[in-house]
């Protein structure tokens, strides 16, 4: 599709300065309203004329949505905190470096300066059939163009696909799941706090959304408890080029090791399914075992059980196996096997 470089189609722009005002606006406007955070995902949709909202509600003027605060137990990040602020924040660097590492691998410096943590976890799928405006399942139609014999699906799902085979493209999401973060959501009925892994949904629950936010809901903050502060962290992202690109796969893990045994662990993978996957089976299997290559090997095999490749993404199965292996067994010990 030709790239349109003209001005975006007209919309009404609202710039509320408080969460309450933003919510009021969203309730008034209903389905016509588009929530704009950093805009790094939104502008593509609007410029390509794929989504044509009548009203855009820009959250960038809401101060209470910005910044990192220390909370009773751990920290709380406003949803509009930029990725650069998160990367540079001294407490995050000291105690929750996993999140800083994942944010540092997002896109490019300019995008990190503007993209927000709330936007990064709430961004839409990158499947190009969907992004180009094809009337697929995710867009409300009844066909998947990627899951056909000739569909280009190198970047697509190997696990839990259900009609749609798009994947969640977020880098910070698996890190937040590993760190046991809580997402604070403001709905019309009040505040709701959910576990990071429950914020994301697959096509079996709703094929048109990657997260649980309904029109009018706002993600206001993300809290990280101190449970895993200073644990052994591992984040790895594999992509085609070293800037801009979304993950083909990424892995995030937090681990507490005592006297040579894995005492506690959380591990999550993204880019494999429509939601970032917490690998509970792996966590249970490696607890009490030494964090070495053999344990990693076993964990990797467990992680990809049930994986179903499409025409062009079979490579993701050994890739995921090895990423999980390296997360648990260590990067030095692991060798590439297929």
């Amino acid at each position: 599709m030709a790239v349109i470089r003209d001005v975006m189609p007209a919309f009404e722009l609202f710039q509320p300065t408080s969460i309450a005002d933003a919510q009021k606006l969203l309730q008034q406007q209903g389905h016509d309203a588009w929530v704009l955070a950093g805009g790094m995902d939104s502008f593509d949709w609007l410029k390509d004329r794929i989504k044509k909202p009548k009203v855009v509600v820009d959250l960038s003027g809401i101060t209470e949505l910005k910044g990192v605060r220390t909370a009773a137990d751990g920290i709380e990040m406003g949803a509009m905190t930029t990725l650069t602020e998160i990367i540079q924040h001294p407490i995050i660097r000291e105690k929750y470096k996993l999140l800083a590492e994942s944010a540092e691998l997002v896109a490019s410096p300019q995008i990190r300066n503007q993209g927000t943590i709330g936007g990064n976890v709430s961004q839409d799928a990158r499947c190009w059939y969907y992004r180009a405006g094809w009337p697929c399942y995710r867009a409300g139609g009844n066909i998947c163009y990627a899951d056909t014999p000739e569909g280009r699906n190198r970047e697509h799902a190997i696990l839990y696909a259900d009609r749609c085979v798009a994947v969640n493209p977020s880098d910070t999401a698996p890190a937040l799941i590993a760190l046991d973060a809580k997402f604070v959501i403001r709905t019309s009925k009040g505040e709701r706090v959910v576990d990071a892994e429950d914020y994301f949904i697959g096509p079996d629950i709703d094929i048109t959304r990657l997260h649980i936010l309904k029109p009018g809901d706002l993600l206001t903050a993300i809290r990280i408890p101190s449970t895993w502060a200073g644990a052994q962290f591992h984040f790895e992202k594999v992509r085609d080029r070293n800037v801009w690109d979304f993950p083909l796969l990424n892995v995030a893990s937090v681990m507490m090791v005592s006297s040579g045994r894995i005492e506690r662990i959380r591990i999550a993978v993204n880019g494999a399914a429509a939601r970032p996957l917490r690998l509970k089976v792996v966590e249970d299997a490696v607890r009490g075992k030494p964090p070495n290559a053999a344990t990693g090997e076993m964990a990797g095999k467990l992680a990809v059980q049930g994986a179903v490749p499409l025409q062009f993404n079979a490579y993701k199965i050994p890739l995921m196996r090895n990423l999980v292996k390296r997360a648990i067994g260590g990067v030095q010990e692991a060798t590439w096997t297929s």
């Binding site: 710039q15 820009d58 410096p109 800037v243």
Partner: protein, 214 residues
């Protein structure tokens, strides 16, 4: 684009005028040239404003000057700078936050101007390539570095690279070549001239350090 109303008298451009000056003149003076795509675009926009989301007069701080300008709700900063304020040094490459040629500094932080709504920069300071040199015409040390090392081929990406460099060097005045490359990783060069660009930017860094010592 209320300035394009065809009321101004059309002066034939002097023969010595460069293409760049001519385009700037067209924008600033509001003279319509039939082949200029700006005019076509302006007319479609007039249609849009008739539907109710028109322009609003904003005051924005660009290169230390307060500029009053009519801005549409959906207008990007790159569009305002180039087509309304005549600051064509900021280039539009991809218009999708993928190439970096529209990089400007907003409150000293580099952003892609193609992906910022002008309505969101009202209380902030915008710095473009035009605002780098001092009022007496002395070039910014990074600009001087480009000249010293002849850093670019076609140089379409240059303003973006220079703005990204200036911002990076403010917080990292003494980078290694790898660190600087990482800092400039949000900018693309279609000529693939990265090695020379980095050399020029390293020279710029050196110039900046020398200037701050002096």
């Amino acid at each position: 684009m209320s300035d394009i109303d065809g009321k101004e008298k059309i002066e034939p451009p002097p023969s010595t005028l460069s293409r760049r000056d001519l385009i700037k003149g067209v924008i600033v003076g509001g003279v319509a040239v039939s082949s200029a795509s700006y005019l076509f675009r302006a007319s479609t926009l007039v249609g849009q404003s008739a539907r109710g989301t028109g322009e609003r007069l904003l005051t924005i701080n660009v290169n230390g000057q307060l500029r009053r300008v009519d801005v549409m709700k959906q207008e990007t900063l790159a569009w305002t700078l180039r087509h309304k304020l005549g600051l064509t040094g900021t280039k539009l490459g991809c218009d999708r936050a993928e190439c970096g040629s529209c990089t400007v500094l907003i409150d000293d932080v580099p952003h892609y101007a193609c992906s910022v709504l002008t309505h969101t920069v009202r209380d902030r300071k915008v710095l473009t390539i035009e605002g780098l040199a001092s009022p007496d015409g002395t070039l910014h040390p990074v600009q001087q570095g480009v000249i010293d090392e002849q850093g670019f081929q076609c140089a379409f990406c240059m303003p973006g690279f220079i703005m990204a460099s200036v911002a990076f060097l403010k917080t990292n005045p003494n980078p290694t070549r790898t660190e600087l490359a990482h800092g400039l990783s949000g900018n693309l060069c279609r000529c693939q001239d990265y090695d020379k660009i980095l050399t020029a930017m390293m020279r710029g860094a050196e110039n900046m350090r020398r200037a701050s010592r002096a």
